[in-house]
Amino acid sequence: MTWNTRALPFGILPILCFLLAQTVAAGTSRIYVTNSAGDSVTVVDPVTNKVVQIIAGIEVPHGVNFSRDGKQVYISNETDSVLDVVDQRSGKIINKVHLSGHPNNSAVTKDGREVLVCIAAAPGALDVVDTTSMEVVKTVPVKGPLHNVYVTPDGKFAVAGSVAAKRLTVIDLKTMESVCDVSFDGGVRPMTFDTNADGSTRRIFVQLSNLHGFAVVDFAKHQEVSRVMLPEGKYGKEEWRLGTPSHGIAVAPDGKTLWVNSILANAVFEYSLPDLKLLGHAALPEVKRQGKPASGAVPEWITFTPDNKTVYVSNSAARSVSAIDTQTLKEIASIPVGEVPKRINTLVLP
């Protein structure tokens, strides 16, 4: 057998391109996992699905977000009631912003100028942290302790939810004033959004306490228009999670599918958008128990790789994160992380 030496470079070219693409992908995104009953944040490389960094010294971290240039990581710290600012490369804490009260989750505005932090201590508020001065420049009053906050895909509004007050509040990010509330019959848990053709917000998908599914809110009308129930399952009771049967919901980066965690089914379900048809599900790992039947992983949160190929689910009872192929709906990696992993987020490096 002889090699065609002139053709060799052309044969190698696709391989080199593939390797280059892998290298670029490896260098462009990271999955951050807050270990809510621990003292660290775990960072995963989505190409290898290996832990590449551990940010230490943050007892009971909650939300994790990033500066626009990806150089800083913002982590809300429940123990010290601060927003920890971490150097992305070294993983070291470089600043602590004192908040107006005990925090929960956080979000960053599209222009990167502000970090919004939910204040879970009564009476509840939304702290606005200026990312230049690194101080709280405004505390927006709301009607109830806040748990999660999001910035709408068009960047115009923040939407914050309260478990205790059973309502979500929409805040205009230009004026930093509350513009409307939507009330529910259960505490407001995670949320996500889909968009109209012009990029404006179309609907909010809202998970609620005691609802094994999600509510659909018409964003323009500010009212609930329907509910979608998830297929049933056998888990939840042993895990003491019947009051929070579904936690973790997200729209894929391409906007074509909606993914919803189920604690009762120990699975993540995939729905089509915009018609909300059930497409399938991926099973999550079980937790072995001494002398008793295995229990569920208690999934908490969802994030994706930017190319839509992998969805990550934090398994709070299993001390792991599942990396799931979005095409085959199979777990391709189970990544061990810290104590009770909850919020996870994807950093896309410029």
Partner: protein, 162 residues
């Protein structure tokens, strides 16, 4: 109203009053035993020792175990079954009054003589080691051989300060 109807109403109220007495008596007895530094669930079961609790058990709630959050961080005046007294700002231990309050509260989460029948020990124990399926504070104890878990078990079995 006929007199017999009034008699029946009075008889019913008297019977209800008496029905509540055993519960009230038990509560009084338990409170009395606890305030004297010991708590017991039923005759024959071990007595929970206050001094052992204060010197050996309470420090576990404040202890920082590697990679874990402290119990106190989540259970300080929390809306959980385990609700620990809030430390005075600047203080690293509880006052006598706060410890007494903690003792009364924590005693309600154990079955004297039965560590694995006690929520206090079962809930933070890893499910792989005989613990509950899920504790939002994680696997504080990986096994029943953990020295702190064994200390809690000793208290539940009625061990006293030597």
């Amino acid at each position: 109203m006929p007199r017999w109807v009034g008699f029946l109403v009075v008889a019913y109220l008297v019977s209800m009053l008496h029905a509540d007495i055993p519960r009230a008596t038990a509560q009084t007895a338990r409170a009395a035993s606890q305030s004297s530094g010991a708590a017991t669930d039923s005759p024959g079961s071990p007595t929970l020792d206050y001094e052992f609790f204060k010197t050996r058990v309470e420090p576990i709630f404040l202890k920082k175990r590697p990679t874990h959050a402290r119990c106190y961080v989540c259970h300080e005046e929390a809306n959980h079954a385990l609700k620990l007294a809030k430390l005075t700002p600047g203080s690293t231990t509880w006052t006598e009054e706060e410890s007494r309050r903690n003792f009364d509260m924590v005693s309600g989460l154990v079955t004297p003589g039965d560590p694995l029948g006690s929520t206090l020990l079962r809930h933070p124990l890893a499910p792989e080691a005989g613990g509950d399926a899920f504790h939002s504070g994680g696997r504080q104890f990986e096994s029943q051989s953990d020295p702190d878990w064994k200390m809690l078990a000793d208290w539940v079995r009625g061990q006293k300060t030597k």
